[in-house]
Amino acid sequence: MGAAVGAVERENARARRASPLAVLVALVIAGASLAGFFVFNGNAEHQEKTLLDSDAQQASLYVASAFSAIGPYLDSLATAVTLSGGSPAVFASRAKALSSGGNSLVLADEQGGVYVVESAVGPGFSDGESLSPAVSAILSKAGATATPGPVVFNGKTSSCFFAVGPPDTPSGSVILFSFTIRPFVASVVTAAKPFALLRVALYGSSHASTGTLFVATARPDELPLTGTVAVAHPVFGTVHWTLVAQARVSLVGSFARQAPYIILALGLFLALLLAGIVEVLDRRSRYAARIADERTADLRATLADLREAQDAVVRGERLTALGEMASVVGHELRNPLAAVINALYLLRRQLGDPADDRYEKHLAMAERETTKAAALAEDLTAFVRPREPRKEQVELSEVVREVVEAVPPPAEVALDVDAETVSVFADRHQLAEVLTNLVTNAYQAVNGNGSVRVSARRAGEAAELAVEDSGPGIDAAVGDRVFEPFFTTKHDGTGLGLAIVRRLVEAHGGHVAIESSSERHGARVVVEIPVDSADPTDAVGVVT
């Protein structure tokens, strides 16, 4: 019983758990979509970076070409100054026409390692002013192409200059174009402008140093640009500036950025869906298999039952045939036995009791054996044609007492009787015959030395009558065969005693069994006879 409950619980636990196949499907698809996510995401990031780099390079070229226009702007001024032999007056008059706003144009000559302003138009410079050694060092390298000077950003404005020198100018002279801009106002980015998708910061130095910020298309609080940025270096002659670019929005497009997540989400959804389908199919197949198993087990059980029933029928037919033969034998024996018994009686009368030694042994043997033969004939008749039970209310303990008195134990056999008061609806004489048979068997089993115990009690809806002996017991292989007719373990038994007992007990709707075990010596025969429902004490029992 316990084992069956365990099996049911295991079955339930298995039913609650997802099938390994469904889990595998879910894991494989989820894994594939995760891999797809990483591949697509990596690809999108790579594309993004490539596009950003490309854009930064383009912006860099754009900036360089934009500033290259300063060269020609200064060229005409330089030509005029050269033609005038370096006249500050000519420079001043031409420069006034070119300069505007906060821009300054300056003509400077090298005097003993530093440059001195010869003529200045616009703010920031004055005639005769010596320029700093650092500026002078830059100016000494100025050539035909406009060279930028250092960019200085003071937090609000950036100032810078471009310079051209020989051969466009007379030897030892340079022309500066100095200007000031506001980096965050100078370039308002609109969608129409190129590089509208980028945040760009241009620094007048080889690295992104805030103090050299020249122009930016980002808000001041967005600087310095961090994260995914591209860096390019616009070149002005020998000078390298730094351009830092960052994408305002995804350059590869929002779909390219979202596609990996879409793939991941769809993949996980698909994983769950397919796993669910597999689980459902698997459960169905498991259920079908279980049903098939149950049906198979039922069929096997039915087959076993049928075989058992068939065996019972065959056994029953065999016993019936046996019984019919026994009946014929039993009856046919009766007349010859009667004649022989009568003849022996007459002989005994004639020869005396005891008879002459010559006859006594043989006569006694003939008497003994005819008595046995008569008992066999009696048993055969009783077995084959049992009387229908004539039932009445019988007190079982009284039957036990009567039988024990009628069949007292042999000397040296201890008899123990423990009979409770149990009323059964049964045939009194047949009950007595059953008990007489069992008690006689028990006496014979202990072989004149041992103990026999007779007990009667109520067990549920039945009266239980048990006869137990301390004899050698019954071989386990023999078991219930002792109740078959002509089966005997005694050398002088007819083999019908227990068969008759079973006949009578079964005629009462009861059951008889023999118990014998190697642990406990002896045999125990238990008879159970139902306490008939007509029993009035039983009806009272139901009410209470």
Partner: protein
């Protein structure tokens, strides 16, 4: 009525019949034998009989036929190899004083006869 008979033994088995008759004669009874129902009825018509030991299963005229033919028979003890069923016992009623099953121990048989016709001094 031409004579007096203590016991009429009716049985178709000669050995059984003659051995029973011998036992009864040795006990001092006057005994008549009949091999079937017809012979038994002849004896009963002829003589006064104290008791009848009647076998039931016999050829030609059986025990039941004998009982049917007699309105007021002497006391009958049925001695049969087969148990006489309850229905037959009911039909036979009080005419039968006892039923014995073969083989009957001679002591038992003598005891029954003695209670019916009285003990004899023979044997």
């Amino acid at each position: 009525m031409t004579g007096e008979t203590d016991v009429l033994v009716v049985d178709d088995e000669p050995d059984v019949r003659s051995s029973v008759a011998d036992i009864l004669r040795q006990a001092g009874y006057r005994v008549q034998e009949a091999a079937d129902g017809n012979e038994a009825l002849d004896v009963l018509a002829r003589e006064r009989v104290g008791a009848v030991l009647l076998d039931m299963v016999m050829p030609r005229c059986d025990g039941m036929a004998v009982m049917d033919a007699l309105d007021d028979p002497p006391p009958v003890v049925v001695v049969s190899a087969r148990r006489v069923e309850a229905a037959a016992r009911t039909k036979l009623g009080a005419k039968v004083v006892d039923y014995l099953e073969k083989p009957v121990r001679p002591e038992v048989l003598l005891g029954r006869v003695a209670t019916i016709v009285g003990a004899r001094s023979g044997g």
